[in-house]
Symmetry: C2
Subunit: 221 residues, 2 copies
DNA sequence: CGGCAAATGATTATCGATAATATAGAATAG
DNA sequence: CTATTCTATATTATCGATAATCATTTGCCG
């Protein structure tokens, strides 16, 4: 017997349950809905998502692999990160990886530069129209593009598995409440200039400074 | 009914099946037993390990989280990495992370320095006695200690989830067949000197050079 | 012969139930 | 009154079976 004989609530069954569950859990962990240390009880979650234990467990194992939760045998799975300190530390890693990625990416093919420029233009336009979510989309696209341009697939995998897409979205939303994106955008402009010029050292340095200014968000209010 | 009524072959049931399975799969992937792209069929593995599908799937999901395999809905799970190029790229990441970790770790508390020195002494002793496996144990202990000393728990998580313990073991064994550990050990000695002196920039640089020399192993024979 | 369609086989995704283990509270002995 | 063992109860780990989907082959018709 299928679990969902009745019509589905929101999303179609485009992907399997465990993917939906994983994404939902990632968001809940990173936005603080589940505080650090909270136990994720399988049957409770199974009830919430209207599925059996199995897909829940698989989603949890995937999160375990990417380090967002830990589990102890017969003691359950607990949330690991997502307080401000963990966010700060994960951004330290992100800065480290992206700075190295841009060094590896330079010199950059015209095609890649065009793609990055496209992201930057879209960011600029979104900012002009004050469309925050669109700005975030394209900013994330730019940064992921940078990682891809390094040619190092392991970098990409790690960037993805730490869910910097979700993290970045949360961080940038938080920034929007405090200050303007304008200085941030300006740094991206300079970054692209340095990339174009083949100036790896300064490009990497701009990225480090960029993330240092983003890190301000992680100060307690 | 339990799957293992008969006495177990090797290891006691100290940990749950999915952990054994995960570790076994990690080793098989990294040592090349499963070539890149190989499909990991759940029921076949279930047969091999004498368990049902569930723990296999969970192990696979954990590996998916740490990026060693990818899976496509209803199409199965395939090995992602572990050719020479993937090893090289993962070591590029390792070098990047460890170099930054040592910068963050400096200045270092006397307790941590003592611990690192202890690893180094053990490495030296093992090398003198030509005990390769012992040397590897302590070298890995030193490097993980370095990551921990950075105080960044995300670094530790990523280092663990990429299974640098298993990778390092394989790489160092391979090195042993080609050249002596002596120059490598010497670099570690210098590294610790720089750490003691609080010289972050040079310590990080030694680490980068160290991994560059390790990377020689990844050249095709 | 060649292309389409249905049937077949292989594999994954999920289910519901059961076994194993830990935790907490009650009962008991000292 | 405290420490200890025992007994529920909650939770995880695993099982065996079924449903859903994909891949391949077969059979039919032009």
């Amino acid at each position: 017997m299928r679990a969902f004989a009745e019509p589905r609530d929101t999303d179609l069954k485009r992907t399997c349950m465990r993917d939906h569950i994983r994404d939902a859990l990632v968001t809940r962990i990173l936005d603080g809905h589940y505080p650090a240390g909270a136990q994720l009880k399988e049957l409770v979650l199974a009830g919430e998502f209207n599925v059996s234990q199995a897909p829940i467990r698989e989603a949890l194992r995937e999160l375990e692999g990417s380090g967002l939760v830990t589990s102890e045998r017969y003691r359950g799975t607990r949330v690991r990160g997502a307080d401000l300190e963990e966010m700060r530390q994960s951004y330290e890693l992100r800065a480290t990886i992206e700075a190295r990625a841009v060094e590896l990416a330079i010199p950059c093919s015209p095609a890649v530069i065009a793609q990055l420029q496209d992201c930057l233009d879209a960011m600029q336009e979104a900012l002009a129209r004050n469309e925050v979510e669109r700005y975030i989309d394209h900013a994330l696209r730019l940064h992921r593009g940078l990682i891809e341009a390094s040619g190092n697939r392991v970098f990409v995998t790690v960037w993805d598995s730490l869910h910097f897409d979700v993290r970045g979205r949360l961080v940038l939303r938080r920034m929007a409440e405090r200050s303007s994106y304008a200085p941030l955008l300006q740094m991206h402009v300079e970054l692209l200039e340095r990339i174009r010029a083949g100036d790896a050292a300064n490009a990497a340095d701009i990225l480090r400074r960029l993330f240092r200014s983003v890190a301000e968000v992680f100060r307690p209010d």
